[in-house]
């Protein structure tokens, strides 16, 4: 039976961890703009591609 007290405390701690993470994410402004980051990640780094094409002649898509 003692086990369940530990389990409950652990579950509370885990939940608290997520609550704090959520607050941190909110505070740092992660939910202020939900569009720009989603597109930003898809932009290719074109300059790199260019140097690739000049060195080995292959084209990347």
């Amino acid at each position: 039976m003692g086990m369940i007290y530990i389990m409950l405390t652990v579950s509370l701690l885990i939940a608290l961890f997520f609550l704090v993470s959520f607050f941190w994410a909110t505070k740092s402004g992660q939910f202020d703009d939900d569009y720009a980051p989603s597109v930003r990640i898809l932009f290719d780094d074109e300059i790199k591609n260019k140097s690739n094409t000049t060195t080995d002649g292959s084209t990347e898509i």
């Binding site: 007290y5 909110t26 202020d32 703009d33 720009a36 932009f43």
Partner: protein, 786 residues
């Protein structure tokens, strides 16, 4: 000829510019393309087709005010010896390509270190080396089509309010945790373990405290406010339910009878807050609150006895002498000091024809100067001018809330029924088992808490708002839907609303022109981007003539006209004075031409928007009105498309329009006003619902309740139908939520409402409501034939 511009995606009118195997509609677009491809930013065009913004021809001078230390300091967020950071509001940001371009702007100018775009607020945070001046930075942005808006600073500087998310976080956390701990209780395991029961109960109590005191606080405040003003809203029964739930649970915890309804309580708040959050997710990136001052420059040049200085608008005083440059907006009511000036009032009236003024004429604020630098004497300070007074009059009158009037009305009946049932139950149970009266009464209050009812409106209206947004009608908030459904009268503005502000019907009068001369004229007009020139080009293309690019000695004199030669033939196009012909026409609705020794006049008249003819007939359940600032020349046209009995009024000043709407409202009509220019802003503000028409939803529009894409205006009827349909969905939701309440009541009245039953009914009812409202609206969107 129907090619779209590779840069901005607009239809190329006339002969476009062919460059690098691509077609462009104007030199500006081509230049941006060149700049981008030279800076290895070609990916811009792969992300979204025709995403570019048409650049405006601007000069560095325009931003000179940014070098005035006092003004500059207002915009710079941070600076040290070598670099600085600035946050600029760029209203043109509208798609992923924009983000790509702006975030890679350092490739165009290496003096810019980095740029980060906030799409929702349409702001860019730019780090730059101090070698580049702020004014140069602004000019560069303007060149690539993103003109920074310095005037709207105050509205963008809203304090970030994230408390709603914190509240939601607490509630979700408590909901999950308490339900987990309550599981043994549901299974009946805890009865034999009083110690364990006490442990989970007090743990739940601790976790529920922030939910009660923080997350739920808005409901208590709102209910308190309503009671204080002796009125009722839906938050009153909600608060009663919450209090009953919480007190009953506290009692149960203190007598060590388990955690009571703590799980339902937390879940309840969690669902309510989700509903609120869903409702508040509106079109952040559209600006509905734009005050006319947002159109104005931040600073102007003031003439001192021996010098000039740049001052902020707020510092302008009576009798100051202002020097306004080409394309600058006149910030206050003035008197013209120079000999002549031409003013473009398109910001104010939606008319793109320029108005000629003479020395001593009175000039209203809001006009844009076309032509050379001109001196004006201030007669009214900026915040006391004509437009502001109209604006201020309207502003205070309209209350904008997310509250649903329909729901508030319902809550009165709800509360009455609730109290009667609770009282009746108490009396009945007094005779059955007097010791359980209290418990039963509390159970009734708990189960009757209108959680599902409270969720139905936010979800139904929220989904409807999204559906309308996809079809081109963007609402400011969900309460607009409710007001939209009560509309009895629709008032249209003519110019820019029924008629297109950039297209004209063209008629030619004068000497007969040969095909060769026509081509010469057409080619000349094709070299200009002025809307009237564009209309002339279209006029010739309809006659199967193709303009060529062989114009030599081309010159465009802003505010006057064009001249050039084609194949040895001298061609001139422009105002009568430009061609040396006397004219007493004040409003330029014509363009004079001279080809060789032949002379003629093009007359322009407004053209109805495409497909608008069918609109008035489809709106037969409303009373229609048309009010226009123009003269009566279009009466016949309007009479043809509007049904008999439509009231049509001409020569209406902005105040007339405002009063017209007010007068209609006095006769108990609910008015929907549809307009575009700033001259309609008073009327849009006072109407029950004001919809601003915009050729480009992300551009400037006057303050309004909603913005409609010009292209969607013809589909106004289905849009209104969609809005009306939300009422049906809402009724279905209400029926369901009441059904759940009755089910719960039957448990409560029979004395069988256990925490387990409450924990099941509450989420199930909420989820049903969310599903009905979401799918109902989605299915309507898919299967309605519009």
């Amino acid at each position: 000829m129907s090619e779209d511009c590779y840069h901005c995606g607009d239809k190329i009118q006339g002969r476009g510019i062919h460059f690098d195997d691509k077609d462009f509609c104007c030199i500006g677009c081509k230049n941006v393309y060149q700049l981008l491809s030279n800076s290895a930013l070609g990916q811009f065009y792969q992300l979204e087709k025709g995403a570019g913004q048409k650049p405006q021809a601007g000069t560095l001078e325009k931003y000179a005010f940014l070098e005035v230390e006092k003004i500059r300091a207002k915009y710079i967020d941070f600076e040290d010896d070598t670099h600085a950071r600035v946050t600029l509001f760029l209203p043109q940001i509208h798609c992923s390509s924009c983000i790509y371009l702006l975030e890679n702007i350092s490739r165009i100018d290496s003096r810019i270190r980095s740029c980060q775009v906030n799409f929702a607020k349409r702001e860019a945070v730019i780090h730059f080396n101090k070698e580049i001046k702020l004014s140069e930075l602004a000019h560069l942005l303007e060149q690539i089509g993103y003109t920074p808006n310095f005037g709207d600073r105050k509205t963008t500087e809203k304090k970030k309010d994230r408390s709603a998310l914190y509240k939601l976080g607490f509630a979700g956390f408590a909901f999950g945790s308490i339900m987990l701990w309550s599981f043994p209780e549901y299974l009946g395991v805890e009865k034999d373990n009083p110690e364990f029961r006490a442990f989970t109960s007090y743990l739940s109590l601790v976790v529920s405290l922030p939910v009660f005191f923080y997350s739920a606080s808005d409901y208590f405040k709102s209910a308190y406010k309503a009671l204080k003003y002796k009125s009722l809203n839906l938050d009153v029964p909600i608060t009663i339910g919450i209090l009953a739930l919480y007190c009953q649970s506290l009692y149960s915890i203190f007598i060590n009878a388990g955690p009571g309804y703590m799980d339902s309580f937390a879940g309840f708040i969690f669902f309510l807050l989700i509903g609120k959050w869903f409702q508040s997710k509106t079109y952040q990136s559209l600006s509905f609150e734009r005050d006319y001052k947002a159109y104005f420059p931040v600073a102007v040049t003031r003439q001192l006895p021996n010098s000039e200085e740049i001052v902020e608008i707020e510092e302008i005083h009576m009798n100051d002498l202002l020097l306004i440059r080409n394309d600058e907006v006149i910030p206050c009511d003035c008197i013209l000091e120079s000999e002549h000036a031409r003013i473009d009032y398109s910001f104010v009236t939606g008319e793109s024809e320029h108005i000629a003024k003479k020395k001593g004429d009175f000039i209203y604020a809001g006009g844009k100067l076309i032509g050379q630098r001109t001196a004006f004497k201030v007669v009214k300070e900026s915040d006391r001018s004509h437009l502001t007074s109209l604006w201020n009059e309207v502003r205070s009158e309209k209350e904008n809330t997310d509250r649903s009037a329909y729901q508030d009305k319902m809550s009165v009946y709800f509360l009455a029924a609730l109290l009667i049932i609770a009282a009746a139950a108490s009396v009945v149970w007094f005779f059955i088992d007097a010791s359980r009266v209290m418990e039963i009464a509390v159970a009734v209050l708990i189960v009757a808490c209108p959680c599902a009812l409270a969720l139905s409106a936010p979800f139904t209206y929220g989904n409807t708002m999204r559906l309308l947004g996809r079809k081109g009608l963007y609402l400011k908030n969900t309460s607009v839907i409710e007001r939209l459904n009560t509309v009895t009268d629709i008032v249209f503005d003519k110019t820019g609303t029924l008629t297109s502000s950039s297209q004209y019907r063209v008629d030619y009068e004068g000497d007969h022109l040969s095909d060769h001369e026509k081509i010469a004229l057409c080619s000349l007009a094709n070299s200009s981007t002025h809307p009237l020139s564009r209309s002339i080009v279209r006029y010739f293309i309809e006659q199967q003539l193709i303009p060529s690019n062989d114009i030599s000695d081309f010159e465009e004199i802003t505010g006057k006209g064009l001249l050039g030669s084609f194949d040895g033939l001298k061609v001139q196009l422009g105002s009568s004075t430009f061609l040396g012909k006397p004219s007493n026409e004040n409003i330029e609705s014509s363009s004079h031409v001279r080809v060789g020794n032949k002379y003629g006049v093009f007359r322009f008249s407004s053209e109805l928007r495409q497909g608008i003819e069918q609109l008035p007939k489809s709106l037969d359940r409303f009373t229609l009105h048309v009010i226009s600032g123009d003269g009566e020349q279009d009466l016949e046209l309007l009479k043809r498309i509007f049904p008999e009995g439509t009231q049509i009024h001409f020569r209406q000043t902005p105040e007339d329009k405002f009063r017209y709407i007010k007068a209609l409202q006095m006769t108990k009509k609910k008015v929907l006003m549809i307009g575009d220019g700033l001259n309609d802003s008073g009327a849009l503000g006072v109407a029950d619902v004001g919809i601003a028409v915009s050729e480009e939803a992300f551009r400037f529009t006057p303050s309004s309740d909603a913005i409609i894409d010009a292209g969607s205006l013809t589909a106004l009827k289905p849009l209104l139908d969609t809005s009306a349909f939300s009422k049906t969905i809402l009724r279905v939701c209400l029926t369901f939520s009441l059904a759940y309440n009755f089910t719960g009541l039957s448990f409560a009245l029979s004395g069988m409402l256990t925490p387990l039953v409450a924990a099941i009914i509450m989420p199930v009812s909420s989820i049903t409501i969310v599903c009905i409202s979401t799918f109902g609206v989605l299915l309507y969107g898919r299967y309605s034939r519009h």
